[in-house]
């Protein structure tokens, strides 16, 4: 499944970041802590169907669908 499909409060493990993303975007994701093997938690689905809010590495981020759908995760529970 992808990050976009996570439910509220669901924990997941990052499996892969799709390679078709631009290099500088992948770099930015990595600097945010989105790296293979790390835990990520969906804090809530975005308001009005907007960007998903997720937590990792002690910070909270919102990212939009076309990016979140490029991040492959494995739900923990």
């Amino acid at each position: 499944m992808t990050l976009w499909e996570l439910n509220t409060k669901q924990q997941a493990l990052i499996i892969s970041v799709k390679s078709e993303l631009a290099e500088n975007v992948k770099e930015r994701l990595s600097e945010m802590g989105i790296q293979v093997g790390r835990d990520i938690q969906c804090v809530r689905k975005g308001p009005l169907g907007g960007p998903i809010v997720m937590q990792l590495g002690g910070s909270v981020f919102a990212i939009e669908e076309n990016l979140a759908a490029q991040i492959e995760v494995e739900a923990r529970n």
């Binding site: 809530r44 308001p47 002690g58």
Partner: protein, 604 residues
Amino acid sequence: MQRILMVGKPNSGKSLLFNQLTGLRQKVANYPGVTVEVKRGQCAGFEVVDLPGTYTMRGLSRDEEIAIREITQSIERDDTSLVVCVLDATRLERSLVLGLQVQQLARENNKSVIFALNFIDEVRRIGEDVDTEALSKELGSPVMALSARTLDGLHEFKTSMLEIAAAPEEYKPSNSIGKGESAVHRSQELAGKYGLKLDVVLRNQNSVDRFLLNSWTGSVVFLAVMFVLFQSIFTLAAPLMDGMESLIGSVAEGVSAVTPEGIVADFFNDAIFGGLGSFLVFVPQIMVLTLIIGLLEDSGYLARAALMCHRPLSAVGLSGRSFIPYLSGHACAIPAIMAARTIESPHKRMITMLTIPLMSCSARLPVYALLVAVLVPEDGTFLGIFGMQGAAFFGLYFFGIVVALIVSQFLNRFLPRDLEESDMPFILELPTYRLPHWKPLTFRVIDSGLQFVRRAAPIIFMVSVGIWILGYFPMESKLQDSWLGQIGHFIEPVFAPMGLDWRYGVAILMSFLAREVFVGALGTLFGMDGAEDDVGGLAERIQADGLTTGAGLGLVLFYVVALQCVATVAMLKGETGSNKLAWGLYVAYGVLAYLIAVGVNFFF
């Protein structure tokens, strides 16, 4: 003077720390606004430079690129003695990414570094602490815990900072990440060892967000905040504007008391106090709006508002990040166009910049105020609670926003886009909710007023003098026969379809330099000096003169849409790099406004 640089990620409390170190004297380069400024102050014989915030030294958006360039150049300069990296103790991993990158850069350039671990009070409040000594050893540069808000550790930090800055040779980083090495893994490792173990802070934040980012309650709160914001532009600013008006009035009286009657007195009365004074009245309004936007930003709500708006704005080709420039566009388009730099996608940034001029900036207020007073009865109410005139104001603001969204949709469809760069994604960090501190806010508010005056005063002054000369000469002639009158009659046919005569034509033509000019010009033309000091009086004159509803409505909508501000065109030219585009937009909005006005006049 040797310099101390301050670097840190957004929301790391850098601005407050800067204020605490430098006190009252500071200079802001660039326009006030969101994330686009460099501030300079002094601290014990050193110049302290507050550089713009960024998350990383590898930027995606224009504002980050500018920040990175500024940081790099500043560190390379010979007169830089020390780099202060501000870290957020509650978000160590995220702030260390930049911290490590900056430390590496400083080490390459033989500069010393000190880490300021800010917000330590929030860490201690939940019963944790950070082992700064061990962290210093691992980082290879001193780490000092402090809170710029509660002043914990601030004195010690300042002492150490000045000590190091005085003898930077002895405090060069003894360690740093290697060239090309990623800061990410190292910051994860360090944050794992020294960062917060409990996520109490985040849990509190998330439970507030459950309410504020909910589709229903979040939308209600968002609309309520916007309503209060626009309402307070009027209610909070009104007494200040009255005060400003009477101040200018008494200065004018004082001056006319000492100048002999004649051409000099006429010049001071009509050109200086009538023209320039009418525009100074709007300075308080800009400051009030800056204050409210500052409160929203520093409390952390602005990021949530941007998130709430992302989906609806995406529908017309904009981003949630377009919300902040749009909002500050209601004060003045110029800082708003700069704030659009935070939008990652160049395509969306371009659309945002091109539509910002449709936001009803405060320069339009005198025009709205006059025409609403003419068209809408003062004692009428709307739905029983809102004054009709107030509702009319909201209607005008709303009309501007709707036109902006329609134009955005159009531009999104037809603007050529660079596919390579067009789909930069929307990524937004949600900062911790915090009580805003008065110090940085005060500076921001005062600065916004000063910048506005500095930027707009010269042009308003020139236009006022120009109108006055054209209207005053040839000597002893009636206004009808003055040079201005002759020009007016020449251009009258253009304005006839709008249902307006030559006097409106002249006022509109003049206001293509700056729209604030309209009321003053019309006031002079209606034979009333100092008209804008008493808008009601001019409104009665116009009513008596017989302005049809259609023509009046068309005229006010004309002012919503038309881009009558040379300063905005100059700004657009600078930011888009295209002279043709900026002036093209000027003409396009002018034509659109004209067509709307003619249409409204025709149908009503």
